[in-house]
């Protein structure tokens, strides 16, 4: 089982595929103070990543996978969100 749910903690491990997207998103929607452990996760499907961006659970344990740790984790820890600052957007659209 790539995702293990316990109370307010979801532990993601191995390769989390599109099959988990629906259940995971549903859990995040209905779990107020959700926490997610990514330590043993090797890959996150875009849908799972998107659900985390939407509901912003607290990431309790950082992944050991280099790509997830270096590239993905910063985006989940409140890095960039929302629209870009409105500035000279006349160049191209």
């Amino acid at each position: 089982m790539p995702i293990e749910f316990r109370d307010t903690l979801a532990t993601l491990s191995g390769v989390v595929t599109v099959d988990e997207v629906d259940q995971f998103a549903g859990w995040l929607r209905t779990t107020p103070k959700a926490r997610v452990s990514l330590r043993r996760c090797r890959h996150l499907h875009t849908g799972v990543f998107q659900a985390m961006l939407r509901y912003r659970p607290k990431v309790t344990a950082a992944p050991t996978d280099p790509f997830l740790a270096v590239r993905v984790l910063p985006l989940l820890n409140g890095g960039i969100s929302g629209p870009p600052p409105a500035r000279h957007r006349n160049a191209t659209s």
Partner: protein
């Protein structure tokens, strides 16, 4: 492996074979323009396809080969055997690479060095290495227009990156990836794709301005911006299936700085690339309109159509549909307006040269062309699987007679038994047709086995300093793919043998009054259920006396035989294990495999090898193999309660002989059959099974004939004949020579099929 790469590898195999064949033919008929064009075209196709993959060495090497062939095609260069060697070596190298790609999906690490060496050789006749324009050709023209989506990057990072790029005068590629909303349903995983981008400097995510109230977890609403030092080719390759969902720009530090400080960029109001494409179409239309004669009809309306499309793309729709050429030219000139430089590049030409395209025309009119034929390429494994299923169907079908027996014997219903037998007969017919159809699919022309020989003969001939011409006949003859595959090694050995031992050097040939160029012939003929392949040469032939002496020295024949053995039998000695006619083992054919291995290999397939030779005139070796070997009809017998199969084509008859009529002769039992004495072999004893015949009952004897030898096999019981799919022995039993293979019976039991020849041999040793 992705489908595109798999397709490329399959296509490449065909192309490589064509190149090889074409080059060898070219060397014989230099300057044949159709042939040069054909080889050039194949090399060209190869290069074109290779460009789709990130194998730059492959593209560069094929490009060099193509340039050389192009020079030959243009008449500026005539192909000599040195060039042919280099070209063949190049395609050999590529063949090796592709084998590596098949397993590793990348080129071997030695590729760059190997390629560079050959490229230098290939380019030498053209006046040396070409300037490195290949590298430039792959990379896109960088865009100077800074897209708004750069703001999605973390601004602090972007500022730092801008400074760094300015300090180092370098550039970076920026990528915007906007996946389609429904992409999850197409099994796409954008984040995974992003993780595959090499040399990534920064990834940022683009989230919607506001999330929809009803969050649909399966709709992809996010996108990415990525900064990378990866090449455009790498990006193109990774995103080749979602090319319309990415935008790539290459920027220097200055452009980013201007963007960050809000200095106005110099940009056109439209997507500059689209504008460039639209202008290219307009320039093309202008060329069309200014080239030679006035255009009309379809060409005019097609041009008007394209001009209309380009105008729309430029945001200045025009009504060009009804325009005549001068009006159209005016419209195009007006639309191009500012893009004067583009227009200036189009010098009007008084007349265009349209050289008669002879080679291509010749192909177009080629009566042998098979435009309509649709050929389906099927993976060999699928056909094998189909054949296995046919075998299983046969087995299931063969179960019905057992069931019919049971219906009659156990349930006493003759009617039911009859009906089952009728069903069996119907099913049998369909299964036979199906089997024939699948067998037909498995048939391949012998050219598959012959293809490698022109190359082999040429290369070996050159190494041995012998001049040889290879003639091939009957390559259209069809045989089962297993037969063709199995034919490969024996044929290679025989042809090498001819080249090595049969064919003389040109000097020797001249001295004995022969033309200096020797001739080796490969000829295939279908002969009923068998195919005959003859390998002939006009070399020195086999000297029967020398062979006999040699065999005697090696202890293969007795002194008696040395005196009495006839010429034909003497020649046949070369097939004896441990015999080699060469005075010294040459590095070509003396690899520890002798003619005995050839005969053993062919015998394993149920075939025969014979050799005929005329001293001084040449040697001819004939292989005779069954056309197909997939299905065998066997007679089932049992001994000591266990059943065995005997191939039906070896069975002459089955007889029952009263025990009293058996007689003994010397040490073995015999039976007299229509005045002829037939030795009887106790199968149980040979196979070491505990069984002695009931002294009072009749003996069941299966009379088999093998070559000119006849023998009776004493068995316990005869059963029926069945069609089986013979599988080779595997595992521990693989070394049990007395069995030819195994087959599944209708009732699910495994049947061991006897190798009668070995059984007779074993019997000789036992007695």
């Amino acid at each position: 492996m992705n489908a595109l790469l798999a397709q490329f590898l399959a296509e490449a195999a065909d192309l490589l074979a064509q190149v090889d064949e074409g080059l060898l033919q070219l060397e014989r008929e230099p300057g044949d323009p159709a042939l040069v064009n054909e080889v050039f075209r194949v090399a060209h196709t190869f290069k074109g396809s290779s460009g789709l993959f990130a194998f730059p060495e492959l593209t560069r090497l094929t490009h060099a080969a193509e340039d050389l062939l192009d020079a030959v095609r243009g008449g500026g260069l005539s192909l000599d055997s040195g060039m042919t060697d280099d070209l063949l070596a190049s395609f050999d190298l590529i063949r090796g690479w592709l084998a590596h790609v098949t397993t590793h999906e990348r080129l071997p690490s030695s590729a760059a060095g190997d390629a560079a060496r050959l490229i230098t050789k290939l380019r030498a006749p053209l006046g040396g290495e070409k300037a490195q324009d290949e590298a430039a050709a792959v990379v896109h023209v960088a865009r100077r227009v800074v897209p708004a989506w750069l703001d999605h990057f973390d601004q602090r990072w972007l500022t730092e990156a801008s400074t760094w790029l300015r300090t180092t005068s370098s550039r970076m590629r920026f990528l915007r990836y906007t996946p389609d909303q429904g992409c999850f349903f197409r099994a796409e995983d954008p984040l995974h794709l992003v993780s595959e981008i090499p040399a990534v400097d920064r990834v940022d995510v683009v989230t919607p301005d506001s999330w929809p109230p009803e969050f649909d977890a399966y709709a992809c609403l996010i996108g990415f911006v990525v900064a990378t030092r990866a090449g455009v080719g790498e990006i193109d390759y990774l995103f080749r299936y979602v090319g319309d969902q990415i935008e790539v720009v290459e920027l220097d530090g200055e452009a980013i700085r201007r963007h960050l400080t809000g200095e106005p960029p110099t940009a056109t109001p439209h997507d500059p690339e689209l504008v460039a494409d639209a202008q290219a179409v307009l320039a093309g239309a202008l060329r069309c309109l200014t080239l030679g004669d006035t255009i009309s009809g379809t060409r005019l309306s097609a041009t008007a159509h394209a001009v209309g499309a380009a105008a729309r793309a430029l945001g200045e729709p025009v009504d060009a549909a009804e325009a005549d050429p001068p009006e159209l030219r005016e419209i195009v000139t007006r639309l191009l307006g500012d893009a004067a430089p583009t227009e200036a590049e189009v010098p009007p030409r008084p007349a265009i040269e349209m050289p008669a395209d002879k080679p291509d025309r010749a192909h177009a009119d080629d009566p042998g062309g098979q435009v309509g034929t649709k050929i389906l390429k099927v993976d060999q494994e699928k056909v094998d699987h189909l054949m296995e299923l046919v075998g299983e169907l046969n087995v299931a079908k063969n179960g019905l007679p057992f069931l019919a027996d049971a219906a009659e014997e156990e349930f006493g219903s003759r009617v039911l038994s009859r009906r089952i037998r009728d069903q069996h007969a119907g099913l049998h017919r369909i299964a036979e047709d199906l089997q024939a159809a699948v067998m037909d699919v498995r048939m391949l022309p012998l050219s598959v086995a012959f293809n490698r020989f022109p190359r082999l003969v040429r290369d070996l001939g050159r190494r041995l300093g012998k001049s040889v011409e290879l003639t091939v006949h009957g390559e259209d003859t069809m045989a089962d793919k297993d037969v063709i595959e199995a034919l490969g090694d024996p044929l290679v050995h025989l042809v090498r043998n001819s080249l090595d031992h049969g064919v003389e050097t040109p000097a020797e040939r001249l001295a004995s009054g022969k033309p200096p160029t020797a001739r080796i012939t490969l000829a295939a003929v279908a002969d009923g259920d068998a195919v005959t392949v003859e390998i002939g040469d006009d070399g020195r032939g086999v000297d029967p006396d020398r062979v006999k002496r040699k065999a005697y020295q090696k202890g293969l024949i007795s002194e008696d035989e040395l005196e009495t053995l006839g010429e034909a039998d003497a020649v046949d000695l070369v097939f004896r294990p441990g015999f080699s006619t060469a005075e010294q083992v040459s590095d070509l054919s003396g690899r520890g495999v002798g003619m005995d291995a050839v005969r053993a290999g062919v015998a394993k397939l149920g075939g025969t090898v014979t050799m005929k030779s005329e001293p001084g005139r040449g040697t001819s070796t004939t292989l005779r193999l069954p056309l197909s070997m997939a299905v065998t009809q066997v007679m089932v017998v049992s001994v000591a309660g266990q059943r065995f199969g005997v191939p039906v084509d070896l069975v002459q008859e089955n007889i029952r002989v009263p025990a009293a009529e058996m007689s003994r002769m010397l040490h073995s039992e015999v039976v007299v059959l229509r005045g002829e004495v037939v030795p009887v072999i106790d199968l149980a004893r040979v196979l070491e099974m505990p069984w002695t015949p009931d002294p009072d009952s009749d003996r069941a004897i299966l009379v088999v004939s093998l070559g000119d030898r006849r023998a009776g096999l004493l068995v316990e019981r005869f059963h029926r004949e069945v069609d089986v799919l013979l599988k080779p022995m595997e595992g521990l039993l693989a070394y049990a020579g007395e069995f030819a293979g195994t087959a599944l019976l209708g009732d699910g039991l495994v049947l061991l099929v006897l190798n009668v020849k070995e059984v007779l041999g074993l019997a000789d040793r036992v007695s």
